[in-house]
Symmetry: C2
Subunit: 154 residues, 2 copies
DNA sequence: TTTCGTGCAAACCATTTGCAGCAGC
DNA sequence: GCTGCTGCAAATGGTTTGCACGAAA
């Protein structure tokens, strides 16, 4: 888990592992670093962002890079109940949590230290090396409308 | 959300909604009810259990029934980071939580009232109708071995 | 110059769906 | 008998992979 990884730190680390720093990897990391706090992208989302910037990065490379950066702990992999994963920058050791509305399909981020503490305590008690804590609240918001964004309810 | 649903309650409810009680649905619900506390099955797992009992229920029906029972709140849908969903009986209003080992791919269940309370409080504060709370700890256990059960690390 | 990474297209795997026949109610 | 349910096979959607070429180190 990196403390306060700058792009340069990330790339140093990749290089030290015999991996290469390519324009594709630089660009993808940069996009996550420029993302507004709490925003997460699916592979397809990222691919569209890249295409919008006229970056001709293939979908396969998009997937490969997301996996790579997640394995190194630079991205956090999130699964909501949607059939595809989302990724966000793993900035610090204090992950935030998500409320997922099963009606309008929006997600809301929030922080709660107590939850993190409980997770840490449980891992410690059992002698496990903590990797990530995910807390999700599935709920239905008072909005009546259904938006277009794909199947929810899963 | 049913309080203490017996199979008969479930079927009454289905019938009252104009849905039908078929041998396939009965069998599948029965399997979940006989499952040891804390056990969860993927669609494929369930299909294998059915086949093992010489129940010729198609995979399509297996999926359709899992979805139906989840929509009615009788099953709880779980996603670990594995690429497929798991289902467990949704017995009470106090869901348990999961520790997922990214090394050996096992899951451990545990209960924690504080987590539930926090989730309930947050939903209440925001005026949301709570559907489910999921708390997952991803960790690596001290076991050195990797077992055969499919890709972890995701 | 040696690997490693990329793009492309094909493959994969979990899940969904159209359709015709069958079966609850 | 009406309508919902099932099985089958084909379709879908997200993700992975084999391969040949191109490019970091």
């Amino acid at each position: 888990m990196p403390e306060k990884s700058t792009a340069e730190n990330v790339f140093q680390n990749l290089r030290s592992k015999g991996l290469r720093v390519t324009p594709q990897r630089e660009k993808i990391l940069q996009i996550f670093m420029e993302l507004e706090e709490g925003t997460h992208l699916s592979a397809e989302d990222l691919f569209k962002v890249l295409s919008g910037k006229n970056e001709n990065i293939s979908l396969a490379t998009t997937y490969r890079t997301l996996k790579l950066l997640s394995q190194f702990g630079y991205l956090r992999e999130l699964d909501f109940a949607e059939g595809h994963k989302h990724y966000e920058l793993n900035q610090d050791k204090k992950p935030h949590h998500h409320i997922i509305c099963l009606n309008c399909n929006k997600t809301i981020e929030f922080e709660d230290d107590v939850i993190i503490q409980i997770g840490e305590k449980i891992a410690l008690e059992r002698g496990l090396e903590l990797v990530d804590i995910q807390f999700k609240i599935y709920a239905v918001c008072p909005n009546e409308h259904d938006d277009e964004s794909r199947t929810h309810r899963a």
